[in-house]
């Protein structure tokens, strides 16, 4: 009996020791990464690990707010990198959670579209706090059978015509969508930037959203929620991402999306490096790797978003026919001009020397109170 016990312990110890031995063989070190689900697929992570010896440990987050909280957990020592969206990146920069990086160490940086080399959501005073990754617009999605005539304006989600059949994202940054709509339709408010709102502008935007609330079926939290709502006919029109449109179209649902005439908000994700990382070498290797045309194309096609590297287009078309045009990877500059990329609202108004703009904490509180 005792012998059996010792044998069992020995086997158990060996099992425990074995994977540890496997890790210690890798010389590159490890990268603990916070990412959106779908951003660290084995398809492009495995070749990286093999080539560099750097091991990647993914941690998926569900929202920008969660990403910021995770990056700050344990004094900021837990994670090495984060794929932050524009509504999180400034918070991380001003909170000194991430460090400035040198783009000259990323060979493909020069192939990025001009708009994505130094966008205001990851570049402050000429310093780059990360390397842009992928972007996409927040589109207007509608059911082609039930919404007639086809909408051309965001006004459709603020009018009572489709009361109880409207869905919008459950996210404080959604306030910017309403601000953009008012910026284009109500010149008396003098809104210059949907992310920089004074108290009176902010109040007008919140009033519009309060008026919208009884029309809303559900504030969706996950992309799969919105897909379900459209599939089941609980919603016929709403604010969305291209990902939902593609998934619904693939399932045969009668849907279409567009960028309405007022323009749209959009997200631009950035790989950022923690100020406390011990694996800067691996981090730079990763930044260079994810910027290459092949990986950019793979991620774009997998997730349904647009690469920042303009050389990714032909590879996208090889992976999925017509995907380059579908995701506007080759669109002219005019196309980007109508997209207002997410950035964290801060008290300092960019368009004046004043600092009386509503900061993100105010946006969060207003959003929670709005949902009530």
């Amino acid at each position: 009996m005792k012998k059996g016990l010792w044998a069992a312990i020995a086997v158990f110890a060996a099992v425990l020791a074995f994977p540890a031995a496997g890790v210690s063989k890798a010389e590159g070190g490890t990268l603990n990464m916070i990412a959106w689900e779908g951003y660290l697929q084995p398809q492009w992570v495995n070749p990286f690990e093999k080539a560099t010896g750097c091991q990647i440990h993914p941690k998926y987050a569900g929202s920008s707010d969660e990403m910021v909280t995770l990056m700050r957990s344990g004094g900021g020592n837990q994670y090495d990198m984060v794929s932050a969206s524009g509504d999180a990146s400034l918070r991380l920069i001003y909170g000194k959670d991430v460090q400035a990086v040198d783009p000259s160490k990323v060979p493909d940086f020069k192939n990025f579209g001009k708009a994505f080399q130094s966008p205001p959501n990851n570049t402050v005073n000429g310093k780059h706090y990360g390397i842009s990754l992928q972007w996409g617009p927040n589109t207007l999605l509608y059911n082609t059978k039930l919404v007639k005539p086809a909408p051309t304006s965001w006004s459709v989600i603020y009018s009572s015509k489709y009361k109880g059949k409207i869905t919008v994202p459950d996210n404080p940054i959604q306030i910017a969508d309403a601000a953009l709509y008012l910026m284009k339709t109500n010149s008396a408010l003098k809104i210059k930037d949907p992310y920089e709102l004074t108290q009176s502008q902010f109040n007008a935007v919140i009033d519009l959203l309060k008026h919208q609330k009884p029309l809303v079926k559900k504030y969706w939290a996950l992309a799969s929620d919105e897909i379900g709502l459209f599939k089941n006919g609980d919603a016929v029109v709403g604010a969305s991402w291209p990902y939902q449109t593609n998934t619904l179209e693939a399932a045969g649902a009668p849907v279409k999306d567009l960028i309405p005439r007022e323009g749209a908000t959009g997200w631009l994700d950035t790989w950022m490096v923690s100020s406390h990382t011990k694996n800067l070498d691996c981090a730079y290797k990763w930044l260079a790797y994810v910027s290459t045309p092949k990986v950019q194309a793979e991620q774009a096609v997998y997730f349904g978003e647009t690469p920042v590297n303009s050389k990714a287009c032909p590879i996208m078309n090889k992976l999925a026919k017509g995907s380059c045009a579908q995701y506007h990877a080759n669109a002219p500059l005019k196309y980007f001009k109508q997209i207002y990329f997410w950035k964290t609202p801060i008290a300092q108004c960019g368009w004046s020397t004043q600092s009386n703009c509503m900061d993100y904490t105010k946006w969060q509180q207003a959003w929670t109170q709005l949902k009530g």
Binding site: D65, G233, Q364
Partner: protein, 296 residues
């Protein structure tokens, strides 16, 4: 060491034997210690955090004492609405479960054969083996606009229910999910009623309803109250069900706490989290008065 006259060295166990409270203390120390450190310390930490604020820029806690979080709770109407909605839904779920569970538990405890009883027990507990999320998603398939419910109504020639993604569906799903936690204590209370009491009631001329009202219900009440502690407190703290099946106005306290924690607003989350603690404190005091703790 100085010789101590006629004293004999005793084994150390003797000290424990002579002072029974000492061995009791030694036995209780680990669980009491764990309770103090894990439960009480966590609650105290919660209250203390609620009195701090957070730096909006860096998201770091600022350790200065302030009642700002509580005054915000007090002054903003939206938080009153959320608190009232949470307590209202918790109460509705509790009453619904009590009404459904009582006849079910009565049948199990007093009428069913041992074989049927075993089958019913398995049926009541079976849903607990499946994931909570799977059960909520299953309800979504039922309540959706094109779901099983509306499909059935349509086949029967009735109008669609139109309750998908509303507080009605939150109420239905909560009532379903917490039902086993009501059935079991009610069953335990009913099973304990001696049959002689019911015979005595009949001997005194009490008909079925009178016996139920004057004998069975009062004796089962502690069980119902014990079950209600579960259904009420579980609803009070939940945020997943309203997130998944709720509509545009289905935020409960749990949802606000979850959102606040995720957005580094820990002090405000702590302040709001004290509300259910207070509500449950009052509820447990009333429950103790009604003898619920003897029925557990």
């Amino acid at each position: 060491m100085r010789p101590t006259g006629n004293r004999v060295r005793r084994p150390r166990g003797g000290a424990l034997w002579r002072r029974p409270w000492l061995s009791g203390l030694a036995l209780l120390a680990p669980p009491v210690g764990a309770f103090v450190f894990v439960y009480i310390a966590a609650l105290v930490a919660l209250f203390i955090t609620a009195l701090w604020t957070v730096n909006a820029f860096t998201g770091e806690l600022v350790h200065t004492w302030t009642l700002d979080n509580f005054s915000q709770l007090w002054n903003v109407e939206a938080y009153h609405v959320i608190a009232r909605r949470t307590i209202g839904i918790a109460a509705a779920v509790t009453i619904t479960d009590a009404v459904i569970a009582f006849p079910f538990a009565y049948y199990m405890a007093r009428l069913a054969t041992p074989r049927t009883r075993a089958v019913l027990f398995v049926l009541i507990l079976l849903p607990l083996w499946a994931s909570y999320l799977a059960r909520v998603y299953a309800w979504r398939l039922i309540l959706d606009n094109n779901g099983v419910l509306n499909w059935t109504l349509e086949k029967l020639g009735l109008p669609a229910a139109g309750i998908s993604y509303t507080n009605w569906s939150v109420w239905i799903v909560f009532s379903y999910i917490w039902l086993p936690f009501m059935v079991l204590p009610v069953y335990a209370a009913l099973e304990r009623i001696p049959h002689s009491y019911i015979e005595a009631s009949r001997d005194l001329g009490g008909r079925g309803f009178r016996t139920l009202r004057s004998v069975i219900l009062p004796l089962a009440l502690p069980g119902i109250v014990a079950g209600s502690i579960f259904t009420f407190s579980l609803t009070l703290g939940d945020y997943i069900t309203p997130l998944l099946v709720g509509g545009a106005s289905s935020q409960l306290i749990g949802n606000v706490v979850y959102d606040s924690v995720n957005s580094s607003q820990l002090p405000f989350a702590s302040a709001f989290a004290t509300v259910p603690v207070l509500v449950m404190g009052v509820y447990l005091l009333i429950a103790r008065r009604l003898g619920a703790f003897e029925a557990l």
